[in-house]
Each structure stands twice: as C-alpha cells, then as structure tokens.
C-alpha cells in the first residue's frame, strides 16, 4: 500500500479560533479510513483543506506518486487530479435530470470547448446506465433531480462521485437520513470502492463505522488524537475522555 495523500503539520484558524492545529495524517491507496471526532473537531475543515475550499495558514498537503502540493491547485484542479467529495448535505443540481447530473460527473474532458463539442458515446451511455443501476435510479434517469427523495439524492450524489472515478473519495456522513437497508448498501458500496482506491469517511454513527471495519482516525480540537482499529481507539483513555467529557 503506497501513500496517496499526506497531510503535514497543517494549521488553520478563523478569527483566532484554531480549527485545525498541526494536523498530520496520511491515507494509503487502496484504503478505507474513517474519521471520527466530536463536533468542532475539524473533520469537515480537514476535507475543506484537502479539496481546496479552505486555504490553511501553514503546512503541506501532498498528493500521489509525484508528491504534488495540493495547496497550489484550485478546487477544480484538485478534483481533476482525482479527489472526489460527497457533502454532508446532499448537493445535486435539482433543476436538471438525473441523467444530466450523472453525465456531468462522468470522467471526460472538462474544458469548456471540449464540453461544448462533446457528444455522448455509447461508452458514456453504458457507464451512466451502469451507475444508475448501482444507485437504483435507472427508472428515474429522465426525472428532475429535485423531485427525488432525500435518500435518493444521497444516492445520486454517491453515483456522481463514483462517476468521477476518483482515486480518493472523501465522504461526509453518507448514511445520514438513510434507512437501515440503504445503510447496508452504502457500506457495501464504500467497501467495494475501497478495494481499488482510497476512501475517507466522516461519520458519527459508530455502528456504521464498526460495519466498515477499517482503520479509524480520531480528531480532537483540530489535531489527531488517536489512530488504529475501532476497538483500539475506543479503548484509548483520551478518546473516552473526549467523547464522554470529564
């Protein structure tokens, strides 16, 4: 397993509040990793930094074989480099069809001119059909995404993430608002995805994480508190203190 993403000594503060404090973390490929921590631990800010939404005050974020510094890239360049993100709140383009949503996400050239002259190939159609099948939205490809249920939107967003075919998936609370059956499906899907790529999951639900059966990183006050298997970290006294309070 090689290191795909390495976060080194990253700090960021908002108006004096240190959201991330000398955080160092590395993710291998392929790997499934869960990131947990109490509210305000910096989980979402961590994702913001990796995806380029937030610029840290100091530190480095290195990516891939050639150790590219992600901090120098824009959000879209980071996405094209192979990092996909699923937001906590499902964000799909409600005004457009499910097909259009998936079609935008499918790996293709992203430049304006390439997109302007783009014509769907049979391969593209096959891929979209495949993804729709995977996320259970085959019958709704022609419907507006805004007409989907909350769970279906979650699925659509996961589908778009898969369509991007990223090397690293950052998934923020994927199971929120899902039925138990859907959760199981999601767990399967993430585990399968993690066979070939890196997947980082932020989740509060310990049961969900237990089912993922992966390495767990615990964040607290913007820094890494503990790392290891779920059983290992839940036995850590510091982790217990943080979660239960003293």
């Amino acid at each position: 397993m090689m290191t795909l993403l390495e976060v080194r000594d990253v700090s960021v503060s908002f108006d004096g509040f240190r959201a991330i404090n000398n955080l160092s973390l590395s993710i291998g490929e392929p790997e499934l990793r869960a990131v947990i921590g109490p509210n305000g631990a910096g989980k979402t800010t961590f994702m913001d930094i990796v995806t380029g939404k937030t610029r840290p005050d100091s530190g480095q974020v290195l990516w891939g074989e050639r150790q590219i510094d992600l901090l120098r890239l824009s959000e879209s360049q980071i996405a094209r480099a192979g990092i996909g993100r699923k937001f906590q709140k499902p964000t799909v383009f409600e005004d457009q069809t499910v097909r259009a949503n998936l079609s935008m996400a499918v790996r293709n050239k992203r430049g304006p001119f390439a997109v302007l002259f783009w014509k769907a190939t049979p391969e593209d159609h096959r891929r979209i059909a495949e993804l729709a099948e995977e996320i259970g939205l085959t019958d709704r490809l022609g419907d507006r995404a805004g007409d989907l249920s909350h769970g279906q939107k979650q699925w659509l967003e996961i589908g778009m993430l898969l369509a991007q075919d990223p090397r690293l998936l950052l998934v923020d609370e994927p199971a929120a608002g899902m039925t138990p059956a859907e959760r199981e499906h999601t767990t399967d899907l993430l585990k399968r995805a993690a066979q070939t790529r890196a997947v980082v999951v932020i989740e509060h639900d310990m049961e969900f994480i237990r089912r993922l059966a992966c390495r767990v990183s615990v964040l607290h006050e913007g820094a890494l508190l503990a790392e290891g298997s779920l059983d290992h970290v839940t036995r850590n006294q510091q982790v217990i203190d943080v979660y239960l309070g003293r």
Partner: protein, 412 residues
C-alpha cells in the same frame, strides 16, 4: 500526472448486463430545443410579412421608419437572448451588456462615418485645381469629423476606419476582448452575485464616462451620426435599405438563436446551469468554473456587439448616453419580464417591452381623460413599467415565458 483510468466499481454481473441493455435512444438537437424550429419558422414568416407590407419592396402599408423600428427590435431581441444566456442560464447578472452593444455600434459607425465623409470630401475636392493627395484627403476627413470636438487629427483608434473588413473585425474583437479581460479579472477573484453585477455596472459607467470626453477619440457626447447612410449604397433609397437591414437583423437573430440554443443544450448547458445553481459544487466535479463563465460572458458580449453593429445603422446615431448603465438594466428588465432561462422568453420580453415603450412614449396610444385629470402615457409609462416590473418579479418570477410552460404542460 498519471491518472490511471481505473475500472468502475466492481459490479455484480447481472446488474451490468441489464445496464448495458438500457442504452437510451439518442436525443436529437431539435428534440432538446423544440422552440427552435417554431422560432425560426415564425421569424421567417414575420420577416416576409414585414417585407411584403414595407414601403421599399412591398405594398407600402408599413412606413420606412416602422420597418426600421422592427429591424431595431430584432437586434434588441438578439442582445436579449445573449443576456438570457449569461444571466438566465449562467447566473451572471451582467449590467454591462449594453456597453458591448454600443461598442459594436461604434465600431461599425466609425467606418460608416469615415467612408461617407471621405466620399463627400473627395467630391468637394474634385472641383479644385490640384487633385488632392491621400494625406490631404485624410486630413480633411479628420477635420470634418473632429472639428466638432475641436481637433484636426484623426485619433489613433481610427487607424482602420477606412477599411470595412477591419471595422467588422473590431465589431467582434473590441467587445470580445473587453469582456475577456474584464471577465478574467472579475471571475478569477471570485466576485459573484450582486457584487459582480455592481462591478459590471461600474465597468459600463467607466466606459460611458470615458466616451463622454471630447478627447476619447469618438467625438464625445456628439457621438457618431448619419449612420443611416451606408457608404457604397448611398444611391439605395432608405425605404429599400431598411428592408435589407431587416433581413440582416432577422438573419442574425435566427443564427444567434440557433447558436445559443446549441450552446445551452447538451452538456455545456448542463454545466452552466449547474454553475448558476451551485458554483462550488461544479468546482468539486472538476470543472473550471471561471473558464466557463468567461466563455459565456465573452461569447454573449460578442453577440451583443454584433447586435449593436446592426442596430445603430438603423437608428442612425450613436452617442455615449446609449451606453449608460441604465440601458443595461433595462435589458435585464426585458429578459426578466420575458422569462429567464428560456431563449424565446427573452425575445418576447425584449420585443414586447421595447415596442410597447416606443408606442406609449411616442404618442401612439391615446391619452386617457379621467375627469379633469389627464393621464399622459408618455409621463406615466415609466411608472407603469417600474411597478409592473416589480409585480412580475414578485408574482411571475418566470415571466411571460412561464405562462407558455403552463399552457404546454396542460396540453398532453
């Protein structure tokens, strides 16, 4: 960077087989744009009807000035669909597109004015003993054009004014480059929403103020005049010329409609509408949002410039007041009333509001007597427009075009 195109998520076999079977039928361009054939058909019929009724080529039921107004309205429709693409589809409320329109008009007007003045000067100099040298001709032309702002020299920006192809190129290049530079600056600093609107308004204001100066090289607030005369076609009566311009305007509108229908359909359309709805999310999908915005902004600016280049020869005069920020806001009003996010909506809005406006303010409508009080349309039209516009924004956010949607949906 090596990005291995890795296999999709290992799927379960039967699902894959089923998925492959369900390749949907290919959706044609026209199927995605049902309004296009309708629009082109109606535009053709309308243009032919106006031609038949015109004074120049037909039975004479429509005066030349009316034909010109119709031709100008078609140009306004063209800039309105450009505005619709940049605002209704891409979410950039530009308050500067009328500036591009004006620049297009200035670019063509420079050639018209130069070439026509040159003809006049050559005629008057032909009577002299010595035939004039090229330098004498151009000096005399410069003095004739710029005497009004107290200058005798041809400004540098008029270097190509003698050449129609060059000025035609400038019709496209000047608005295009301005939009490109301004857009690049604005978009790269992630100025969005109302900030961007105000910034575009500031750009328009700066341009208008610049043109108002006498030493701007474009005759200050005198503007360019006599543009209804086309050098080389001075023998053609205005009545005929007006119909030709009507055709040119209709052609440009038809082509523009087709172009934009193509741009906003398909994946590109998807992406720009996605940018309108959630720009950040589009970035995380790997699209360079700034590039798309810049493309749309520049393309629509170029089309606006072309619309202006067709409009002002019919209007006959252009001056900096035409570029004032208020004009661009009216453009937004037309598009909003017509209905954003649908090209025909922009056409309906621009045509109805601008024609209604010229009808009411031009004294076409009878004034209403209410007892001793006399309602003058010319005075009250703007009040009506303002209040009506507020009402449309409040109650019909989809504009007139939204009503079409309801009608279409009701007929299964």
């Amino acid at each position: 960077m090596t990005l291995i195109n890795r296999p999709p998520v290992a799927p379960t076999a039967p699902i894959l087989a089923e998925g492959m079977a369900k390749v949907p039928p290919r959706r044609g361009f026209l199927r995605e744009n049902p309004s296009l054939p309708w629009f082109l058909g109606l535009l053709t019929i309308f243009t032919l009807m106006v031609s038949v009724l015109s004074e120049g080529l037909g039975v004479g039921a429509l005066s030349t000035s009316m034909v010109k107004i119709i031709g100008m309205t078609l140009c306004l429709c063209l800039i309105a669909i450009a505005m619709d693409v940049v605002w209704g589809y891409c979410g950039i409320l530009s308050l500067g597109h009328f500036a591009f329109f004006g620049l297009g008009g200035y670019a063509i007007g420079m050639w018209q004015m130069y070439a026509r003045t040159e003809i006049v000067i050559r005629d008057s100099m032909a009577g002299g003993v010595l035939p004039p040298t090229p330098a004498e001709v151009s000096d005399a032309v410069a003095a004739q054009i710029f005497g009004v702002v107290g200058s005798l020299d041809l400004p540098l920006i008029w270097s190509f004014a003698h050449s129609l192809p060059a000025q035609l190129a400038l019709v496209v290049l000047v608005p295009g480059l301005l939009a490109l530079v301004f857009g690049w600056l604005a978009f790269r600093s992630r100025v969005t929403g109302v900030y961007l609107s105000i910034l575009t308004q500031a750009m328009t204001l700066a341009l208008a103020l610049y043109l108002f100066q006498n030493d701007s090289g474009l005759r200050g607030n005198n503007g360019l005049a006599g543009l209804q005369n086309i050098p080389g076609l001075l023998d053609v009566p205005q009545a005929v010329l007006s119909v030709w311009f009507l055709w040119a305007s209709a052609l440009a509108l038809g082509l523009g409609y087709g172009l934009f229908a193509w741009v906003v359909s398909g994946k590109f359309g998807s992406v720009i509408r996605a940018i309108r709805d959630n720009e950040a999310r589009v970035r995380f999908l790997g699209y360079n949002v700034e590039g798309y915005k810049l493309f749309v902004f520049t393309l629509t600016a170029i089309v606006s410039g072309i619309a202006g280049a067709l409009y002002y020869p019919q209007a006959g005069i252009i001056n900096p007041a035409e570029l004032a920020p208020i004009a661009s806001i009216y453009l937004a009003v037309w598009v909003a009333i017509g209905g954003r996010g649908r090209l025909y909506g922009a056409v309906i809005g621009a045509a109805s509001v601008s024609l209604l406006s010229s009808w009411l303010t031009g004294g076409g409508a009878p004034n209403i007597e209410i007892g001793a009080f006399r309602l003058m349309w010319a005075d009250w039209w703007l009040v009506l427009l303002g209040v009506g516009f507020v009402a449309v924004t409040l109650f019909f956010p989809k504009g007139i075009g939204g009503l079409f949607d309801k009608l279409v949906r009701k007929q299964p």
